[in-house]
Subunit: 308 residues, 2 copies
């Protein structure tokens, strides 16, 4: 199948989701409103994740969809993914500057170039605010930490593929501790993730993967990430059997964040971290694709899992 | 009481919320993580609003915390509140530009000035994406429309007051129709809002209000808005009895949005609009202030209303 075929299928599925009223177009590719039906599926899937993780005693943290710019700068995200990041800018002028802004807007000129960067940037992945928060608490307890987060994330990658939104939600569990603690967590969630998605009547594959690092140097980072098996993805076919969509990811960051934020284990070692991320919209899109656009008609076992 | 006293009390309450673990500091004033306890209160209050509005048959729409920049430009928000708006900018360069960005970052220089405005801006109020969406559907049905939205909103106003966050959530019902339909809706919700908040054991006041329009011309807009009683607020004391906090607002926009988006009633007239907005974090802060930091110890009637 050619790239064009894949893109056509993605665009066709997006159009169908809009026609069915599940997604509301805004005029920007990758930016959609959601219907009440769509949101109900997201909420029920979110609750299902909670059920599977309940026994682990994770600490719940909920951050807004933006984070401290200084913390973001320190995270090294800009080294790897400058093209995806979103910085929030604001007007900082007086009444005269305001008149200039309005005149430019009126005349169809660019009014945005005088906007000034604020102290906040869009959250690129739900776990980013967690590392400085945990670091600020001092050394980890012996059992490490397990954090539960959920937020809208932004990535600047306008696309016709409904599974590649510019603003989408990510639920994550983040494990911070010794290499053993962190690897055990990741293995556990690879198994759980597979079982959880299978319980929804969806086809599941797991594969090694890499992040979309920027530029030529990024290609080497991608290869290294694959070779070391640092990233696995749970794949579900949505618009293509040949190119299934990554709906969950299981990431082992080694010492990356522990080193950046100086997070230490109880023994004084640099902490390791791992996370499991659930692409909420992607799983919803997979459910609509495989079971139909009306959840009332989904198979009884799937309905029972989600609506109890 | 002086302004300094008010600000001291606001900062003291913020510090107490952080100490109690309900808010998680990020290093930026007005940007906080929330604990699981805080989020549970938000979720239960959100569900309570749904109960009060259930009989009205509102259509649920859920938008991400950003909207189409062209739609935002058309909304005239920049005329009135340029200082509060947030535009999302992104890197648009090649590998050479990327090296420059990283060098500036490394050397502590401003790396943000080459960021380019994207097609999306932060949502300033939850109802903003609704008007173009409803307009795109053509003339209103005879009964008009009633829409239910909920989203994070951004306003660039860093503050020590925990009730003035840069990123906060707003639930809204929006009524779009004839002047009679819209005014009836607003009167209904002023009464309902008062009863709803009273059911939570909180002191309630309702007063005419105005938006924080920018500049000297804005002062006239504010006076006009007050004189015409276009905006009412439901006030609850949080950090000050003398300066209670606006927790709900009831806004009559007259033909403003109907005219901007050319929304027409079934009779071909320009539609009027009104909305009721619930400041989710503000109501949660009021509950913690009046009933204590641990919801398990809140008065039984309040617990019954929220947790059933």
């Amino acid at each position: 199948m050619t790239t064009t075929d894949v893109k056509d299928k993605q665009a066709a599925y997006r159009d169908e989701l809009v026609k069915q009223g599940l997604l509301i177009p805004t005029g920007v590719d990758g930016l959609y409103g959601r219907s009440g039906v769509f949101e109900d599926v997201i909420e029920r899937f979110d609750a299902l994740i909670t059920v599977w993780g309940r026994g682990d005693g994770a600490e719940v943290m909920r951050f807004p969809p933006a984070l401290n710019r200084r913390a973001f700068e320190q995270s090294e995200y800009l080294k790897s993914f400058p093209h995806l990041a979103g910085t929030i800018h604001s007007f900082a002028g007086d009444e005269r500057a305001h008149r200039t802004l309005l005149r430019r807007l009126e005349e169809g000129q660019d009014w945005t170039e005088d906007q000034v960067a604020t102290d906040v940037v869009m959250t690129p992945a739900a776990c980013y605010p967690v590392y400085p928060t945990v670091a600020a608490r001092g050394p980890l307890p012996g059992e490490g930490r397990l954090i539960d987060v959920f937020s809208y994330c932004f990535r600047h990658e306008p696309s016709l593929d409904p599974a590649r939104m510019q603003l989408f939600r990510m639920r994550e569990y983040i494990r911070i501790g010794t290499p053993d603690q962190v690897m055990e967590f990741r293995e556990l969630w690879i198994e759980r993730g597979r079982d959880l998605i299978a319980s929804l009547g969806l086809p599941v594959g797991i594969d090694v993967a890499n992040d979309p690092f920027f530029g030529r140097a990024g290609k080497m980072l991608s290869s290294s990430q694959r070779d070391q098996k640092l990233k696995f993805e749970l794949l579900i076919p949505i618009t293509s059997e040949e190119s299934p969509t990554a709906c969950l990811s299981f990431n082992y960051h080694q010492e990356h964040f522990g080193h950046l934020w100086d997070i230490r284990t109880a023994d004084g070692e640099v902490a390791h971290t791992a996370c499991v991320g659930f692409g909420m919209e992607r799983v919803a899109l997979a459910l609509f694709r495989h079971h139909g656009f009306d959840p009332a008609t989904w198979p009884a076992p799937v309905r029972a899992v989600l609506w109890g």
